[in-house]
């Protein structure tokens, strides 16, 4: 059993050493329905890629393909040595189990043969007090639990974070703090971040590039170039009025 890292489908040399992920002609099909069609994009080391699009357009499916959880056509090449930390949107677990935050993190640390001190370190990084971490996960607030998932993703020494709507179900202040936390971690640790979001303001603020998935086609590029009113209209169906505030 592999102890750390993620299955790398095609460990080949990628032309530019700065490229962490190179996706070409990626398609996913479930039975008769094609969820993702002919996606091509790349992610540079240390950058942020936002993935946006209406519900059901395949954002989570793309993440699951990238971590090797589902089959796809085309190729998704991670740079050699890539270690992924993943924050899923949906858990398999009902949160009524007597597993504490610390139990959960210790299990992950043990798999990666990391010292138990790393657990306190990541809890400190995401700002969860030890007393909260010793509580069963069901008693944590939405914001605390999302922070716990980020702490979990940070174990194993990742250089790439995949975040599937990390701020969903959290109040506005909590969202702000979590976004700032992720941004700070990215800068401090030189992480590459791929995140799924519904918040255009977050996309403008943090993303180097944006991948817009819609039924018709996909758009990829810097937010200010890609997110034209026409594209937003195509994505969300209604006229999205968005003003960019330059600070």
């Amino acid at each position: 059993m592999r102890k750390t890292g993620v299955a790398i489908r095609h460990p080949v040399n990628i032309n530019s050493v700065e490229t962490v992920l190179e996706v070409s002609h990626l398609s996913v099909q479930f039975g008769a329905s094609r969820v993702l069609s002919d996606l091509s994009f790349s992610v540079a080391k240390g950058s942020s890629l936002a993935i946006i699009g209406p519900n059901g357009c395949g954002k989570t499916v793309l993440f699951r393909a990238l971590i090797g959880a589902i089959a796809f056509e085309g190729s998704a090449r991670w740079a050699p040595g890539t270690r992924i930390g993943y924050v899923p949107q949906k858990l398999d677990l009902v949160r009524d189990v007597p597993i504490t935050g610390v139990d959960f993190l210790r299990a992950r640390a043990a798999i990666g043969r990391e010292p138990p001190a790393n657990v306190s370190h990541v809890l400190d990084l995401v700002g969860i007090p030890p007393a909260i971490a010793e509580q069963p996960i069901g008693t944590m607030s939405g914001g605390q639990f999302q922070r716990l998932l980020v702490a979990f993703a940070l174990l194993g020494g990742p250089n790439v974070l995949l975040l599937d709507e990390p701020t969903a179900g959290i109040d506005e202040l909590g969202q702000e703090r979590l976004n700032e936390l992720i941004h700070r971690l990215q800068l401090d640790q030189g992480l590459t971040v791929l995140f799924i979001s519904h918040e255009l303001s977050i996309v403008y603020r943090y993303a180097s590039n944006v991948l817009c998935l819609s039924q018709a086609r996909a758009y990829f590029g810097p937010p200010r170039t890609v997110l034209t009113p026409d594209v937003l209209h195509e994505l969300y169906g209604t006229q999205v009025d968005y003003h960019i505030h330059d600070h």
Partner: protein, 254 residues
């Protein structure tokens, strides 16, 4: 009860308590029962061939667990349909193949009073040892997989393989309880102590320890009461176990 029978029933209870913790957290409580039914046709074939019933049961449980694993990747509805149809059919087929005393014994246990053969003792300890050491050594991977199989994948865990191993250990735990509890009741000794522990424990270690203690307590107390009240051992063990669960309901969940 001889000393080896006593030790064997304790080993069985420890394995059941530990297996149950993960089954309850994986929400497998309802699947436990039908999966155990698949042992019955195996027992029928074994009796017809004059080999020890436990080996027939183990073989069928192995294939039963393999079937559950194979359909688990599909939708949940498919899994439930397969479990509902295949395993109930297995119970019916097994009942047709076995009859009288043998059927009652296979379903509800009761072989506990008879002498234990060496083959059965060796199988029992080897199986309990395998189950306990699997769960202890894969505990961390099982916990991570429990929370999210996608997260487990990025942590380098082979999710499909670990799922298969767990289901096989679960099936082996059922086989282990055949002599004392029978195929219908062993599912209950796996699930009930773990469900009680889940209600009462505050962390993972607490749940695992408590489930083991409750399973052992129910087995010993149930076996003793069965002798004292001249009743079958299996139903008595499960009744004691269920009684402890109901008492635990008196405590409000924190």
């Amino acid at each position: 009860m001889t000393i080896e029978a006593l030790l064997l029933s304790i080993a069985m209870a420890v394995a059941a308590g530990l297996t149950g913790c993960f089954a309850v957290m994986r929400r497998m409580a309802l699947a436990a029962d039908p999966l155990s039914h698949v042992a019955l046709p195996g027992i029928g074939v074994a009796l017809a061939l004059h080999i020890h019933p436990v080996f027939g049961a183990v073989t069928m449980l192995f294939f039963g667990a393999l079937l559950v694993w194979a359909v688990e990747d599909r939708t949940r509805a498919t899994t439930e349909t397969v479990i509902g149809v295949v395993f109930s059919a297995a119970l019916a087929a097994g009942s047709l193949m076995t009859s009288g005393e043998n059927l009652i014994e296979a379903l509800l246990g009761g072989g506990g009073a008879g002498a234990l053969g060496w083959a059965e003792i060796m199988f029992g300890f080897a199986a309990a040892g395998a189950i306990i050491s699997f769960l202890v050594s894969y505990r961390n991977s099982l916990i991570v997989m429990l929370v999210s199989s996608d997260v487990a994948r990025t942590a380098g865990i082979n999710v499909r393989r670990l799922n298969l191993f767990y289901l096989q250990m679960f099936a082996l735990t059922i086989a282990l309880g055949l002599r004392y509890l029978g195929v219908l009741l062993m599912g209950a000794l796996i699930i009930i102590p773990a469900a009680t522990a889940k209600r009462l424990a505050r962390n993972l270690d607490g749940m695992l320890r408590l489930a083991v203690m409750l399973a052992v307590l129910a087995t010993l107390l149930g076996s003793w009461m069965a002798v004292w009240l001249h009743r079958e051992t299996g139903p008595m063990i499960v009744t004691v176990s269920a009684a402890i669960f109901f008492i635990s309901l008196l405590r409000r969940p924190s």
